[in-house]
Amino acid sequence: MTTPEGSAPAVPTRTVDQAFMPEGEPWQRVSPVLAKAYRIELVIGVGLGLVVVALLNLIPDMPRVVPLVLAAALLVALVWIWIVIGRRVRSWGYAEREDDLLVTSGILFRRLVIVPYGRMQLVDLTAGPLHRALGITTVQLHTAAATTDASIPGLTPEVAAGLRDRLARRGEQRSAGL
């Protein structure tokens, strides 16, 4: 890990959080239910991992300690990711502004996407079986660039549909070909 040595010129002019979630914008958070969905997915994933580890025992000549270490690692990962998910979900935010949509997310790898309404080509609403059961939806924006990557998970269906309609309307007003 490289850390700045605290020398004066290296101090950023703003704090990092302000850079990725600037104040004064109408930031909206996503539903905390998203954390629940992620945690259920996590438990299912770790459960499958434990099954695989248990099957390792069936391999002859396998030292006892290997499955034990793997299982312990999985459980530690479970606890750690369980905690991180809360922060991860709180890190999501979006702001509908006059001419563009801001989407921010991430803890370790942060990002802020500015998508002009005039550049939107498609707005997708998707929800897998689990997310549907919990009543949350993902809104995904597409532009002509494949790298845009502006999706907002964890919206209640009403919020998602309202957002989609507003985005579609603004997109139509400001649409500018390619």
Binding site: M1, T2, T3, P4, P9, A10, V11, P12, T13, R14, V16, Q18, A19, F20, P22, E98, D99, D100, L108, F109, R110, R111, L112, V113, I114, V115, P116, G118, R119, Q121, L122, H142, T143, A144, A145, A146, T147, T148, D149, A150, R169, E172, Q173, R174, S175, A176, G177, L178
Partner: protein, 504 residues
């Protein structure tokens, strides 16, 4: 156009004319050429498979293999004949290109020419020998937006190309082919030297030596034969040479025309205003020569898997190698009014050295009224240029290492392609302001952009085909007074089709 192609026999008469519905067909020789195309691969398979299975090769075996090849070839030609029989193309009353095809599953396709991105006339070697050509039409759109028409005689293909471009530009579609002016030609010697001076060539050579050594050690000389039939890594360099041999760039009112190829000839046309981004690449060893390679992003022309087969190779090269001044002069034709060296650049902060030890001094970003420019790379230097009006979205990203240094990167998203502009390792606060400023510049430029219909005549023949895609049909909803409504200037152009700046 009238120049004689030494590799083409040009013995064929044009395909039959339109039928009673005005529909046209591909050239009748098409199925044969499409079927025979697989013959070399099949022969290789017929040789290698028994060798691989270590079967003893007797006369019966040879006969069986020959019979297999013939049967497969006949089946392939037969299938292609059925496809040919069911494939028609014509222009509908809206001026769009319609293509009906499909043997088992019918496909009716409408190619919206107002969204045209580029037209290529390609001559794969076999088709070229017969004097035939394929027309590839790219329109903007998600997914499979490419329409390929195989094969027409070269004259027909060129005529179709002209008609497609003229219709998409909104000019009379029976107009003469626009005159062209040769801007640059790449000498074969420069191309060879430039390919040899790439680090890639060196690594390919190493890989080739390694592959040959391991094959000879493991499989003996038989393996070597198979290897050469299948190809060794160094062939890539020959491919590049063959692809960009005799590269010519010409300017014409209907766009930039690129011609290249040793065996397979390609004539590419990129209408003005279709260029989404331009990238200059300068490998380390080219620096002394002052050479650069110039690449383009064009919407709908997917990029990525370069070098794997002729189908997927779509790294859009504007110039395979050229001196800086020549490259800049040609890019000035693609992006009119842009002076890239005059764009003031801002370097990344000094502390970016801790994140990017080698290239930090070269990291820079800059902009003027028309474009944003990013520079990166110490060994191979990249200059990427995006017009503000073509900016899709702007992203700020930050990894943990950057975060500890208070740095962040700004991505200017363009359509998929080889050019991916990124301002690496800026101060985090500056990155955020940069992204916002870029989004604002893009919005302003979009509102003023008129390049979608570059040659609209005072009385366009087909107004439906000429209207800019996405122009709102309905009256825009009332917008707040302080906001410049982006839709209005586009409408103004629609009312006065000759108001926009014409490219010629």
């Amino acid at each position: 156009m009238s120049e004689r192609d030494p590799l083409s026999f040009e013995v064929l008469r044009p395909a039959s004319g339109p039928d009673q519905h005005g529909r046209r067909r591909m050239h009748p020789l098409t199925p044969l050429i499409q079927g025979v195309r697989w013959l070399p691969a099949m022969i290789v398979a017929a040789i290698t498979l028994p060798a691989q299975l270590e079967l003893t090769v007797g006369t019966g075996m040879l006969l069986a293999a020959a019979a297999g090849v013939v049967i497969v070839a006949v089946l392939a030609v037969g299938w292609n004949f059925l496809q040919w029989q069911r494939m028609y193309f014509w222009f509908d009353e809206d001026g769009d290109l319609r293509v009906d095809s499909g043997v088992l599953q019918k496909q009716e396709r409408r190619v919206q020419l107002s969204r045209l991105q580029s037209v290529d006339v390609m001559q794969p070697l076999l088709a070229r020998l017969a004097g035939l050509a394929e027309v590839r039409i790219e329109v903007a759109g998600a997914g499979d937006s490419r329409q390929s028409l195989q094969f027409l005689t070269l004259a027909e293909a060129n005529a179709l190309r002209n008609e497609v471009i003229a219709r998409s530009a909104g000019v009379r579609h029976d107009a003469e082919e626009a005159p062209e002016q040769l801007l640059a030609a790449v000498p074969a010697g420069d191309l060879v030297v430039s390919l040899l001076l790439r680090a890639e060539t060196f690594f390919l050579l190493l890989a080739t030596v390694a592959v040959i050594a391991t094959t000879v050690l493991s499989a003996g000389s038989v393996g070597l034969l198979l290897l050469f039939l299948g190809g060794v890594p160094i062939f890539q360099v020959f491919n590049q040479f063959s692809r960009y041999y005799d590269f010519q760039v010409a300017d014409s009112p209907d766009g930039l025309r690129l011609r290249h190829g040793l065996l397979q000839r390609t004539r590419q046309t990129v209408p003005p205003g279709r260029v989404q981004a331009v990238g200059f690449v300068q490998p380390f060893l080219w620096r002394r020569k002052g050479w650069v390679r110039v690449r383009l992003n064009v919407a709908g022309v997917a990029s990525g898997n370069q070098g794997s087969g002729d189908q997927s190779y779509t790294e859009n090269v504007l110039l395979p190698v050229a001196p800086w001044p020549v490259a800049l002069a040609i890019v000035a034709r693609v992006l009119p009014g842009v002076d890239i060296p005059a764009v003031p650049l801002l370097s990344a902060p000094d502390r970016s050295r801790r994140r990017a030890w080698i290239q930090w001094r070269r990291l820079a970003v800059g902009w003027d009224d028309a474009v944003v420019v990013t520079r990166r790379g110490r060994v191979t230097e990249h200059w990427d240029v995006v017009p503000h009006a073509r900016t899709q979205s702007v992203r700020v990203t930050q990894g943990p290492w950057q975060r500890s240094l208070g740095l962040a990167s700004v991505h200017i998203d363009s359509t998929p392609g080889a050019v991916r502009p990124i301002a690496l390792h800026r101060d985090a606060g500056e990155a955020r302001d940069l992204a916002q400023a870029q989004a604002d510049r893009a919005a302003a430029a979009r509102a003023a952009d008129r390049s979608l219909r570059w040659a609209a005549s005072p009385q366009p023949l087909d107004p439906a085909g000429g209207v800019a895609p996405g122009t709102p049909d309905s009256v825009p909803l009332p917008t707040p007074a302080d906001e410049p409504a982006a839709g209005l200037p586009v409408e103004a152009t629609a009312d006065h089709p000759d108001a926009g700046p014409l490219e010629q």
